[in-house]
Symmetry: D2
Subunit: 424 residues, 4 copies
Amino acid sequence: MTTEPITERLDDPASARESGRQKIDWARQHMPICAALREEFVETQPLAGQRLGMAMHVEATTAVLTETLAAAGAEVAITGCNPLSTHDDVSAALDAQEGITSYAERDVDDEGYYDAIEAVIAHEPTITVDDGMDMVAAIHDDHPELIDSILGGCEETTTGVHRLRAMDDDDALDYPVFAVNDTPMKRLFDNVHGTGESSLAAIAMTTNLSWAGKTVVVAGYGFCGRGVAKKAAGQNANVVVCEVDPRRALEAHMEGYEVLPMAEAAAEGDVFITTTGNRDVLTEEHFERMKDGALLANAGHFDVEIDLDALGELAESTREARPGVREYELSGGKRLNVLAEGRLVNLAAPIALGHPVEVMDQSFGVQAVCVREFTEEEYEPGVHEVPDALDREVAEIKLDAEGLAIDELTETQTEYMGSWDHGT
Amino acid sequence: MTTEPITERLDDPASARESGRQKIDWARQHMPICAALREEFVETQPLAGQRLGMAMHVEATTAVLTETLAAAGAEVAITGCNPLSTHDDVSAALDAQEGITSYAERDVDDEGYYDAIEAVIAHEPTITVDDGMDMVAAIHDDHPELIDSILGGCEETTTGVHRLRAMDDDDALDYPVFAVNDTPMKRLFDNVHGTGESSLAAIAMTTNLSWAGKTVVVAGYGFCGRGVAKKAAGQNANVVVCEVDPRRALEAHMEGYEVLPMAEAAAEGDVFITTTGNRDVLTEEHFERMKDGALLANAGHFDVEIDLDALGELAESTREARPGVREYELSGGKRLNVLAEGRLVNLAAPIALGHPVEVMDQSFGVQAVCVREFTEEEYEPGVHEVPDALDREVAEIKLDAEGLAIDELTETQTEYMGSWDHGT
Amino acid sequence: MTTEPITERLDDPASARESGRQKIDWARQHMPICAALREEFVETQPLAGQRLGMAMHVEATTAVLTETLAAAGAEVAITGCNPLSTHDDVSAALDAQEGITSYAERDVDDEGYYDAIEAVIAHEPTITVDDGMDMVAAIHDDHPELIDSILGGCEETTTGVHRLRAMDDDDALDYPVFAVNDTPMKRLFDNVHGTGESSLAAIAMTTNLSWAGKTVVVAGYGFCGRGVAKKAAGQNANVVVCEVDPRRALEAHMEGYEVLPMAEAAAEGDVFITTTGNRDVLTEEHFERMKDGALLANAGHFDVEIDLDALGELAESTREARPGVREYELSGGKRLNVLAEGRLVNLAAPIALGHPVEVMDQSFGVQAVCVREFTEEEYEPGVHEVPDALDREVAEIKLDAEGLAIDELTETQTEYMGSWDHGT
Amino acid sequence: MTTEPITERLDDPASARESGRQKIDWARQHMPICAALREEFVETQPLAGQRLGMAMHVEATTAVLTETLAAAGAEVAITGCNPLSTHDDVSAALDAQEGITSYAERDVDDEGYYDAIEAVIAHEPTITVDDGMDMVAAIHDDHPELIDSILGGCEETTTGVHRLRAMDDDDALDYPVFAVNDTPMKRLFDNVHGTGESSLAAIAMTTNLSWAGKTVVVAGYGFCGRGVAKKAAGQNANVVVCEVDPRRALEAHMEGYEVLPMAEAAAEGDVFITTTGNRDVLTEEHFERMKDGALLANAGHFDVEIDLDALGELAESTREARPGVREYELSGGKRLNVLAEGRLVNLAAPIALGHPVEVMDQSFGVQAVCVREFTEEEYEPGVHEVPDALDREVAEIKLDAEGLAIDELTETQTEYMGSWDHGT
């Protein structure tokens, strides 16, 4: 019953808690932004009296954010945002904390997944924190009566923000939500470096294959896609980019990558990585052209980018080639290998760990100050950009933590930049 | 007398024209966007009846833009936007074209420079095209009576846009200006690749020194700065970045560059390249810490980034070490080498050629459609972003010209991206 | 009893075999060179009547080599070359093959380790294949009577070859050994790409930390070191190189890396990776200068590069921070994290997989043709370079397998290259 | 008459000397290795009584070497090794030095070129220094009587060494020559960084075109080729490599480059750069497949890599498109642009400067110690590798000059590396 906290559901919660606690401690060591904010929050208790409802990938770094928010005085209820991404031990360790209830459990079925979201909503959150907007959606669909008492929400992902904007355009979003995904601190680091590095490491460790000399086809050249492309090139892969936007395609071309429509790239790729946030990126026509042994992985939010139904129909048989790798054998003996069932490869592969700790620290630093912001300012319903000052605050905390000093404008320089009457 | 067209001022205008024509022909071969637009414009004559006043770096690529606009039916008057960047032969070849009058001449003094701008204004332009906003400024300062009949202006540079926004904030900008610099097509290509490649090539060819193993200090991590940093790293330099903005500093750090305040970087650099758009970036305190033989170059718009007055005072003697290199000998025998008098090194160095042809083609493609836009739509006074559709149009023309096909969204995909009700 | 085959020692050998077989099948799919050679060997049976004694890292790719050699007609006995690198399931799957006996078992103690080598030697090998020369050493030390009937040996590693040459210089090497490590096909691919990629992936997956913005200190700039440095820079790390050889140091400098003595680098590094093949690379004086939280990993053959004894004495306490990470807390609370007990991080970390499959294919392709060579030609005792034709044969097989066509010299070109009488 | 020193042939030798002196002074500032050696040589006069005959590219850095050798007590006669690479002003400045006679003049015809070599030989050199072995060849062909009194020669280039080895194999080389080209200090820096950076800068400045997004076909993946490929990729070009050697082809492939036969690459390239040292690399069949506007440049020693005769026959007309660019118009209007007449582009293009100063310093440092070596040791006729200690000496001088400290092996470490009896 996923409506009960995880602790009630585990055979040996104590050992799970210990294992989870070890993971969280490691993450905490390497999350200086959350550490600095926690120190401040313990003092100032900005979330005293607030109830937080969170649907996130429940692993070590999220736990550090969760604890940071609890330390700020909030009562927190949390569940997963993807059935395959929860670490049960981390969930148990969180659930053992005062002020935190965790419902997240790995490998639950669809019903269990949505029941757990309901269980979080039963806490009547005043602030929501989402990774894919499932919490916002469930509240709007089934618990509109709660909306009046909700100060606001935070959304972590590109996909979630995209869907929230669509909802907002339909006048269907009834409380304010910060597009945390769109902040420089999130997009430039988490998406580029985090998704890039962790997706490649997860693929390498799941397959034991090398990048050098491989042709890697990256579908989508948004922030995630360019992270994946850049890191793959940095491992000596030959990168091919597929795009639908002419300017992004041109950017990829000017970066030195080959740019092709997927119908042509399909025949060239050794590895395919989808990052578009859209569905049907790799479909039957592509599978048919792919080479024997090709690897197919998804680094976008939902498992809709690779059309597995079509692949399943095309295949004569399938088997687990390695943990996390399903081999589809097509007629003629051609084998296509799908990683992590087409789900987010850096989270859902058996040995995947999610984003690196430090990039999550930056993202979650922004989350933490955004949650705080709702208690200080009132926002209209709709999608809001994160106020620049908050994002900048997080950047400054990070530079401090890294011991990096930077220049400051002199008065003369500030004046110069503000004036328009100086000549050639 | 710079108030006369260049042809009147040259000893041998015919040979200048021939040399200029050869340069323009070469550029034209490699500017497929302008070629495609020219073909369209010859047909549609969108600028029939318009008078264009341009202040640009008068070299081959600008000439191709100028001819494209003239081919669209406009009467064009043009002068330089920097006393050192004009190619007299190109100026002469332009002046020989029907519908074009060029006043641009290299090495004119300040008075001559501003007189030439006046000469252009005397044509009573209905549309202005600026590279540094000198034309806009002169019209506002001295010829406000012309403003009523001006449809609008285009501004090419970061610095110009910055100054125009300051002017706009003061309610002092009385006609509409497109911030061409801020378009993706300009910023992502021209600033990053154009400034980056051409600045490094100009420095290499001016000094005959190598990048491999050099410590290159890049001041400013905006679009130009990251282009310079990226290309220098691509030549195996060890790059140090100095910034005043914490997020940009963090971006540079996460890219793998060393980030330091200039006071510390000064002691480490073999080459210093300023790209901030601000003044006093390299000052006395930095000169004092620099190593013997250091190279100082500016890739920002104005020659104010390196404080040459202070350096001159500090120096015991100066001499020309090579064409384009002034050596300042400080007490103790330390030599600092300033390139191109601290002016834009990729334009003002003796053998510099300005931005590469293809990146200018992208920039100038945007200029051309922006000029056309003023004849089709009316805009309020103030700084305007370039309408996205125009920028996108240029990207599509370029992809076509390169023979690059890209994917298109299916209906299902478009619908998916617009919906918000799909689950995990 | 490690003198018995692994099958005798496992609780459930059948399930181990199945798991091992799955791993070997995956590797085999991605090892086209071994596949092509196996096809040839099955036909020609070049090793009929030979007994092979192997001491290698017993994991999936080694298994493919082992099976390839067995398919060539040899009787093979194999054990591990490092107590932590054996996969018991792969060992069991090998042991189940006709013609192969495997003694390799993970986590055996020193005595068990050397007993297993003895067990292999008891098969009276006619050809040895080593990864670290333990087999050669044991035969010379304890079984000199076997030497007369040994055709030759192959040595896989830099370290092993180094030690063999030292032995040869002392006139103490009594049978011929091919320095497989020194072939272009091994050094340029295995060491650079294999060690580089797999070490970084293992560190990332063991720590869940990111490379972007990290200062990575690479000790040693040989083939392994330059692989590690290049791949780390490709993940946006800031790389510092420490070397003892002036030309290698200069190469690193000209590549754009910072070059420092370790005493200075110690204070700058976030991650330290040793690749020198030497001992005492990171010692007490370095530990004392390191930053809190630094990671220490070894990518060299033996676990002597990080002086763990000195670190243990310096530490006030140690604990397992994560699987594969031992945290040493020094006085003042500074924590240093040692990965994989200072053993080869890409093999000995809990989730490490060894080198990527494809690079092992290249190395092992050379091994296979070298073993064949001993049956075709007689070599003098001592260290021998692998005949160039063999190495070239392997390169050609690989290009074929990748579908890569290359140019061929025309007769005129060959003649030109061979002549010396053409002028300027 | 090129048999007279350059001074006799110039209209205004004084002004040439001044201009040449300025160039030499700049180079000297940035050649710390030659500076350090000069200091030593002035003291020790190792070349007292020797006569040096040099055939080199006579530009500023060569002049610094020449002066360094003269300062060591030698009487030096020098001429060019390529009719297009001489700087007359540098030649004049050298000729004005005591102990140096220079015959080098730009743009001489074939007869003048060889006459100048004869003029140098008339000085009866005891040591020769060659860049392309023309001096060695002329002495063997026409002045065998001199050979007895020649201590030895130094050869700078890949091509020269190749031809010397062919000559040696024919037992036709009658005095000892050091293969300076083959030293680590030369190959790893000069060929990779020097040829790479300077060729690209020369092409960029000759054409004013950009590298970003260009497909650059590099013929040959030797040291020069990989330098060109690496630097082009570092400017965001998409690099295609053509090779005849399977291992080099594989190396290029594993680096992430596309590898193709030239017949296929011809249709893809925007820029072609030959670095093979062989003839007929780009021929009729390739010209026919190339794209309109393609650029063809040679970075190999001789002008035989691009088959200009065939191209001339194929073309309907040719014209100078820019200084240093000859446009061949083929039937159908396709234009192919050949840079610098197919000669070494980094030397023979109108604005080319040759290799960067610092990499020449490393090469010439080796030359200087090699010349010294012939006065200290006697060598047999034939091609000799440069003794490693000499090369190492130059590396150490360079590190000193850069202020780079490196680690030293402890006694324990040296002993460890020399031993072979340590266990796992």
